[in-house]
C-alpha cells in the first residue's frame, strides 16, 4: 500500500492532529514544520516516521489503533525529530560516530558474522533491499546497528521532554525510565551511555565464562578510540558486545530506517521523488519554528525548558569540540608538511625544459608527532577516549609517540592503546616536562591532553603545540599558555 497525499480516513485524522497541535492555545509555534509536511500512507512503516524532506510516512492500521490524544502525541514526536535536526546532518554525524564506536567493539571475522546474523534478517524483511548488492555488506550492517542505537537515543531525547507539555505518548515508545537513564541528556549522550552499558554487560558475561586476559578490550566509554591488541577479538568478544547491545535495545520496538525506506520507495514509486519539501525548505521550516519558539518563550512558562533548549541549539549551534580538534591538529600537520625548502642539491622538477636557467628543487620533511597525556586528577575517561580516537584518526599516517605524564614523564611508546593508560589521580602534574621531553626527542607537533591543572613552560617550545583541555561542562576551562592552540573539551558529568 502506498498513497501520496492521501485523502483516506486515517489521513484525515493525521491532518486534524496537525491542526490540533497548532491551535493558538496549544503549540502554534510548530506550524512551519507541521504544515511543511507531506503525508505518505504506507504499510511499509510499522508506525510513523519522517524524513529529511518532511515526508511523513505512517501505517494506517497503526494510526487507527491510536486514540486522538495519542495521535497528537505521536505527531508532536515526529515534529521533534525534525526540530532537533535528527533527520539532517546532526543525525548523520551521530550515526557516523556510532559506526566507529561499534566497529571498535566488533573486531575480527567472528563479530562480522554475528553482525550479519543479528541484522541480516532485518535487512531482508523490512527494507526490501534483498537482491541489491551494496558496496560493502559489512558497512551496511554496521550502519544499521548504529542507526538502531541512534533511533532509540533520539527517541529518548525527545520523549523525556513530553512531560512538560501535557501530551500523551503511546506506552510502547522508548523512555528513559525503562533504560534507567537520567533525563535531559542529548541523543549523543544517551547513545554513548547505551554503548557503555552494552560493553559493561559483554565484559561481565565474558568474565563469567572464565576467559582470561581480555579485560574488556577497549572499554572506554562510548568512544571511537582504543585499539585492540593483536590476536584479541578473534574469540568472538565482539559478538558478546553485539548480543548485549541487541538485548539492551529490545526494551524498545525497533524503528524503521527512514532514509533507506525513502530510497526504496522512491525506486518503486518514482512519483515520490517529486513530493516533499526541498532540503532548503525543510531547514528554513526548522529555523522558523525555532524562532517562533523563542518568541513564545518571552512569556515565562509558556514553553517547556527542553523544547527551548532544542530551539536554541538550532539558532545558536555549538561547534562540536571533535570538529575543532580535528581541524586544529589537521591544520598544524598540513602546515608542517607544507614547509618545503628550496635546495640547489636537487634540480627543479622541470629543469629538463629550462635549458640554461637553473631553478632550485625543493625538499620537505614528514613531521614527527607526539601525543602527551595527563594521567592525573580529574580527567574524564569518556572524553579522553573520544579525544584519543579522533587524534588516532587524524594521525593515521604518522604513528605518533605517546608520552604519559603526571609528575614524571613515563612512557614513550609508538602505539596507542587506552588499556595501557593508567589514570593515576593525585596532584603534582607537570605537562611542561612532557612537552620538553617530546621536543627533545625531535617532535615538531605535540598534541597535549590535560585537565589544565599544570604548570606550563614560559617560553614557547620549539614545536607546534595543540592542547585539548578537558574540563567540566559547566565550569570555565583553565587557562592555557598563549603559544598553544587550545581546544576546550567539555565533560558532561
Amino acid at each position: 500500500m502506498f498513497i501520496v497525499n492521501p485523502t483516506t480516513e486515517q489521513a484525515e485524522r493525521v491532518r486534524l492532529a496537525r491542526v490540533a497541535l497548532t491551535r493558538p492555545d496549544a503549540f502554534p509555534y510548530y506550524y512551519p514544520i507541521a504544515f511543511g509536511m507531506t503525508l505518505v500512507e504506507t504499510d511499509r512503516v510499522p508506525t510513523m516516521a519522517v524524513d529529511a524532506r518532511l515526508r511523513l510516512y505512517y501505517n494506517p492500521a497503526w494510526v487507527e489503533g491510536l486514540s486522538e490524544p495519542e495521535l497528537l502525541g505521536v505527531f508532536w514526536h515526529e515534529v521533534q525529530h525534525v526540530l532537533r535536526e535528527h533527520v539532517f546532518e546532526r543525525g548523520a554525524l551521530h550515526i557516523r560516530f556510532l559506526k566507529g564506536a561499534i566497529a571498535d567493539g566488533l573486531q575480527g571475522e567472528e563479530a562480522a558474522k554475528r553482525l550479519r546474523e543479528v541484522y541480516g534478517e532485518f535487512l531482508r524483511g523490512e527494507l526490501g533491499v534483498e537482491g541489491e548488492k551494496p558496496l560493502s555488506l559489512e558497512d551496511l550492517l554496521l550502519t544499521m546497528a548504529a542507526k538502531d542505537v541512534a533511533n532509540i537515543a533520539e527517541d529518548l531525547e525527545i520523549n523525556d521532554d513530553a512531560e512538560g507539555t501535557g501530551l500523551r505518548l503511546p506506552p510502547k515508545g522508548a523512555f528513559v525510565e525503562d533504560f534507567g537513564l537520567p533525563r535531559g541528556l542529548t541523543a549523543e549522550e544517551y547513545s554513548a551511555r547505551l554503548l557503555e552499558e552494552a560493553k559493561g554487560r559483554a565484559q561481565g558475561r565474558r568474565g563469567g565464562a572464565g576467559e582470561k586476559g581480555k579485560e574488556g578490550g577497549n572499554s572506554q566509554g562510548g568512544g571511537g578510540g582504543g585499539e585492540k591488541k593483536e590476536g584479541e577479538g578473534q574469540g568472538g568478544g565482539g559478538g558478546d558486545f553485539l548480543d548485549a547491545l541487541a538485548e539492551l535495545l529490545k526494551k524498545s520496538p525497533r524503528d524503521v530506517l527512514v532514509e533507506a525506506l525513502a530510497q526504496a520507495l522512491e525506486r518503486e514509486h518514482p512519483e515520490l521523488r517529486e513530493v516533499g519539501a526541498s532540503e532548503a525548505a525543510a531547514k528554513v521550516a526548522v529555523r522558523q519554528t525555532a524562532e517562533e519558539i523563542l518568541r513564545h518563550a518571552k512569556h515565562p512558562g509558556s514553553v517547556p525548558a527542553g523544547i527551548l533548549r532544542a530551539a536554541e541549539a538550532v539558532l545558536k549551534p555549538k561547534v562540536d569540540w571533535r570538529s575543532v580538534l580535528r581541524a586544529k591538529v589537521g591544520k598544524a600537520l598540513v602546515d608542517l608538511e607544507a614547509r618545503e625548502r628550496p635546495t640547489y642539491h636537487r634540480p627543479h622538477r622541470r629543469q629538463g625544459a629550462l635549458g640554461s636557467v637553473l631553478l632550485p628543487g625543493a625538499y620537505g620533511l614528514k613531521p614527527e608527532v607526539a601525543v602527551v597525556i595527563d594521567t592525573s586528577g580529574s580527567m574524564g575517561e569518556r572524553e579522553l577516549g573520544q579525544a584519543l580516537g579522533e587524534i588516532k584518526g587524524i594521525l593515521r599516517h604518522h604513528r605518533p609517540t605517546v608520552y604519559t605524564v603526571d609528575a614524571e614523564v613515563h612512557a614513550a611508546q609508538k602505539v596507542f592503546s587506552l588499556d595501557q593508560l593508567k589514570l593515576l589521580g593525585g596532584g603534582g602534574t607537570d605537562m611542561g616536562r612532557g612537552i620538553e621531553q617530546a621536543v627533545k626527542d625531535g617532535h615538531e607537533l605535540v598534541v597535549v591532553l590535560t585537565d589544565g591543572y599544570t604548570p606550563w613552560p614560559e617560553k614557547a617550545p620549539r614545536a607546534t603545540v595543540v592542547v585539548g583541555l578537558i574540563h567540566p561542562k559547566d565550569a570555565e576551562a583553565p587557562k592555557a599558555p598563549p603559544w598553544a592552540k587550545v581546544v576546550p573539551i567539555p565533560v558532561s558529568d
Binding site: R15, L16, A17, R18, V19, A20, T22, R23, P24, D25, A26, P28, Y31, P32, A34, F35, G36, E68, P69, L71, L72, G166, R168, E266, R267, P270, R273, S278, E279, A280, A281, K283, V284, A285, R287, Q288, E291, V319, D320, S323, V324, R326, A327, G330, K331, V334, E337, A338, E340, H348, R349, R350, L354, G355, S356, V357, L359, A362
Partner: protein, 370 residues
C-alpha cells in the same frame, strides 16, 4: 526538481552572476563533464588545469632567455585563458589536492583575478573532492574558502542511470536563457536592497569567524553576503525558485543563509487586505497559508467592520470548498470566539452562516483534548 538539477542550476546561476564557485563531490561523478557543458552553454572558452599536478612556476610564469636576458613568460594555457577576456573560464580541478606552495598563487587567481602578474577577466571555477576522498587532501584555508561559492555535487543513482540510457545532456534541467545585462543589473540592485535590509535587522548574521572543520567551507562575511546578493539577483533575473536560491545563498554564506531565505519568504507573503480582496493571492504552500490566515484573523479583529468581517468568512468558505478546511480552522475559531466576545466597546457582528461548515471540525478537534 531533484537535488541534482537544483545544484546544476545553482552553478549555472553563479556563472551568470560571475561568481567563482567550487563543486565538492567524489571523483568520477561528472563534475568536469558538467563544467564543460556549462562553458558551452554560456559560450565561454574553457581552460582546464589539474591543480594537483602544478607548481608555482606554472602560474607565476616560466623563465626563458631572450637575447641573453631572463624573461618570465606565461604558460600556453594561461595565455589562452587570458586572451579569451571576459569569455574565458578557468576550471581548476582537484583544488584541495594542490601542493601547498601554489596556494598563495591560487588565492591570487580566485581573489584578485591575476595569473602571476597578468590580470584576467574570465571566471575561475573549481572542483574538489571532499576531504576524506582527496588524494593528498587538505582543507581550504578560510580566506580562500571565503572567496568561493560552495556547492555540494550530488549525483543520484537514478539520475546517473538516466544519463547512461538517454545520454548525458538529458540529465540536465532546461537552462533559462542568460538575462540581458540591464535586467541582471536591475534585479541585482533589488537583491542587494533585500540582503541589506535583512542584515540590518540581523546584524549578528553578518560575520562569523568559522571554527572547526566548517572553516574550509562557506562562512558569512561582507564579501560573501555580497556574493549572496549577486547570486540572488541572477536567480531573480532568470525566474529561478527557492530551492536553487537556497543552494546559492547557503553556498555563499553558510547556514546563516537560511535566515535570508526565511526573510524572503516572509517578504513574499501577501497582506491580509490583498488576500481578502483577491483569493487568487492565497499562497500555495500550506505553512504560508497558515500564517496568512492567522494574520487575516487578527486583521479582522483589529479592524472590526462588517465589510471586512463578511469578506473574511467568504474567504474561509472558499478554503472549505478547496478542501483546505483544516487549514482554515484556526482562523475560523478565532473569529467565532470574537463573535461571542467582541473586542471591548465594539458592537456585535452579524452571525456568520459559513461557520456551520466548521461545526464538524470543532467536534472532531475536541477529541484531541486540552
Amino acid at each position: 526538481m531533484n537535488k541534482f538539477e537544483a545544484t546544476v542550476l545553482a552553478a549555472y546561476t553563479a556563472a551568470v552572476a560571475d561568481l567563482p564557485f567550487i563543486l565538492w563531490g567524489p571523483p568520477g561523478t561528472g563534475k568536469t563533464k558538467f563544467v564543460e557543458t556549462l562553458a558551452r552553454l554560456l559560450g565561454r572558452k574553457l581552460v582546464t588545469i589539474v591543480a594537483a599536478t602544478r607548481d608555482r612556476t606554472d602560474f607565476g610564469g616560466w623563465p626563458v632567455i631572450v637575447d641573453g636576458e631572463v624573461a618570465v613568460k606565461p604558460f600556453p594555457w594561461a595565455k589562452e585563458f587570458i586572451s579569451a577576456g571576459k569569455k574565458g573560464m578557468l576550471f581548476i580541478d582537484e583544488l584541495t589536492s594542490s601542493p601547498p606552495d601554489i596556494r598563495p598563487v591560487l588565492l591570487r587567481i580566485l581573489n584578485e583575478r591575476f595569473i602571476g602578474d597578468i590580470p584576467f577577466q574570465g571566471l575561475p571555477v573549481a572542483a574538489a573532492n571532499p576531504e576524506d576522498q582527496a588524494v593528498t587532501g587538505f582543507r581550504l584555508d578560510p580566506p580562500i574558502a571565503n572567496r568561493l561559492l560552495h556547492l555540494d555535487w550530488v549525483m543520484e543513482t537514478h539520475v546517473w542511470a538516466r544519463g547512461m540510457r538517454e545520454g548525458w545532456d538529458r540529465i540536465y534541467p532546461r537552462f533559462p536563457a542568460e538575462p540581458a545585462p540591464e535586467v541582471l543589473e536591475a534585479e541585482t540592485a533589488r537583491a542587494r536592497a533585500l540582503v541589506a535590509a535583512y542584515l540590518e535587522r540581523n546584524p549578528g548574521q553578518v560575520n562569523r569567524v568559522p571554527e572547526g572543520e566548517e572553516a574550509g567551507k562557506a562562512w558569512p562575511s561582507y564579501r560573501t553576503w555580497d556574493y549572496a546578493a549577486r547570486f540572488l539577483g541572477a536567480a531573480f533575473a532568470m525566474g529561478l525558485g527557492e530551492e536553487v536560491i537556497a543552494l546559492g545563498v547557503v553556498g555563499a554564506v553558510g547556514k546563516e543563509g537560511y535566515g535570508l531565505i526565511q526573510f524572503l519568504r516572509e517578504n513574499d507573503l501577501p497582506a491580509p487586505e490583498e488576500v481578502l480582496e483577491d483569493h487568487g493571492k492565497l499562497p500555495k504552500r500550506e505553512d504560508a497559508l497558515f500564517v496568512v490566515l492567522s494574520s487575516v484573523a487578527s486583521y479582522v479583529v483589529r479592524t472590526w467592520t462588517p465589510e471586512v468581517w463578511k469578506s473574511a468568512w467568504r474567504l474561509l468558505a472558499e478554503l472549505v470548498k478547496r478542501g483546505q478546511k483544516d487549514l482554515a480552522f484556526n482562523a475560523a475559531r478565532t473569529l467565532a470566539r470574537a463573535y461571542f466576545d467582541p473586542p471591548k466597546g465594539k458592537k456585535a457582528m452579524p452571525a456568520p452562516e459559513e461557520v456551520d461548515q466548521f461545526a464538524e471540525l470543532f467536534d472532531a478537534l475536541e477529541k484531541f483534548g486540552k
